[in-house]
Amino acid sequence: MKEIFSIALGAILVNNFIFAQFLGICPFMGVSKKIDTAIGMGVAVTFVMGLASAFTWLANEYLLVPLNLAYMQTVAFILIIAALVQFVEMFLQKSLPALYTALGIYLPLITTNCAVLGVALLNVQNGYNFIESVVYGITGGLGFLLAIVLFASIRERLVFADPPKAFEGFPIALVTAGLMALAFMGFSGANVFG
């Protein structure tokens, strides 16, 4: 239980996927102009990261490792993730149309989100068991959600700011993200369960 909590705390705050590991920067920058869309993207990413952790862990443990195909991890994982995203999309469309319309446009984008492939690879690299992998996936997603929602709420106000012309738009957003990363560094002491 202690390990699980430590993994969760680490993934959400200390080793936040965005601010400490640089995974998933593209959607973080791309869909953070409004809080609503940021929440949609964050929830979709959390959902897919949790599922992807579970499925890639099972595939790795029961297919790739017994067959000595561990070197095919990258190819296998990206195919699993792409297929998973497609199935999630079809499933939601059939059974939860309300959620589907809310997440709709973000789901296909998630296939190329490096946080999803990243979490699958990190699970293997860190030697997590099934439960730990799923927890790491979900809490990593929650960390992403936290980061993107905070960032979107700053960016909504940033529209009214008046930066130097060269910094307008993207660069000032990056600098803002940098300052947020600085704030998140404060958590690096919070290694409660070592």
Partner: protein
């Protein structure tokens, strides 16, 4: 086919990182030392060129509906090759780049160029596009590495450059530095591109 124009687009006016704003995860994550930046840049250059060639070669036989999946498989294949080669011949670089080598699969530069260029143009032009876009990416990585390593640690490729009295700005080698340096570089690029009126920014 216009080699000079493609070179200029890849390195300056349509630079993959500074103008198209693609592939930022790896750009910020691994640019803490020159060896890392060079290893990553050359890996991406090779994979981008190889995948551009293959995707251009198969562009007429791939059904439109499953083209993205096909591209991803082609790219993942080449990434696995480079990953294994690095582990075999440059284990130190492979270890320090870690998870970011397999993550080249989802680097938007490669899929972006496949979709925007290689799926429409001939094989030779696509190969050149891969080389020049890869070069543009590598140059940005090196610029970031030099700034972050020189100012953040006072060294270049591990050799002490700054005088001993230089107070290193340690924060630049941390994740924060990645955001700040990249933001400043993009701002510099926007400033440079907006100066002469003729260099109209291409719509992406």
């Amino acid at each position: 086919m216009n080699i000079g124009k493609q070179l200029k687009e890849g390195v300056i006016s349509n630079n993959p990182v500074l103008v198209q704003l693609l592939g930022m995860c790896s750009t910020m994550a691994i640019t803490t030392s020159i060896a890392n930046g060079l290893g990553m840049g050359v890996s991406v250059l090779l994979i981008l060129t190889a995948s551009n060639v293959v995707i251009s070669a198969i562009r007429k036989i791939v059904p439109n509906k499953i083209r993205i999946a096909m591209y991803v498989v082609v790219i993942a294949g080449f990434v696995t090759c480079v990953d294994l080669l690095l582990q075999a011949f440059l284990p130190a670089i492979a270890a320090s780049l870690g998870v970011f080598i397999p993550l080249i699969v989802v680097n938007c530069i490669i899929l972006g160029r496949a979709e925007a260029f290689a799926s429409k143009e001939g094989i030779a032009a696509s190969a050149l596009d891969g080389v020049f876009q890869g070069l543009g990416y590598t140059l940005v990585l090196l610029a970031m590495c030099i700034i972050r390593e020189l100012l953040g640690a006072g060294t270049l490729a591990g050799i002490q450059i700054m005088p001993a009295s230089y107070q290193a700005i340690g924060v630049l080698t941390l994740p924060v530095g990645g955001f700040l340096v990249l933001g400043t570089l993009i701002a510099a690029m926007q400033w440079a591109l907006s100066r002469p009126k003729k260099a109209a920014k291409e719509e992406k």
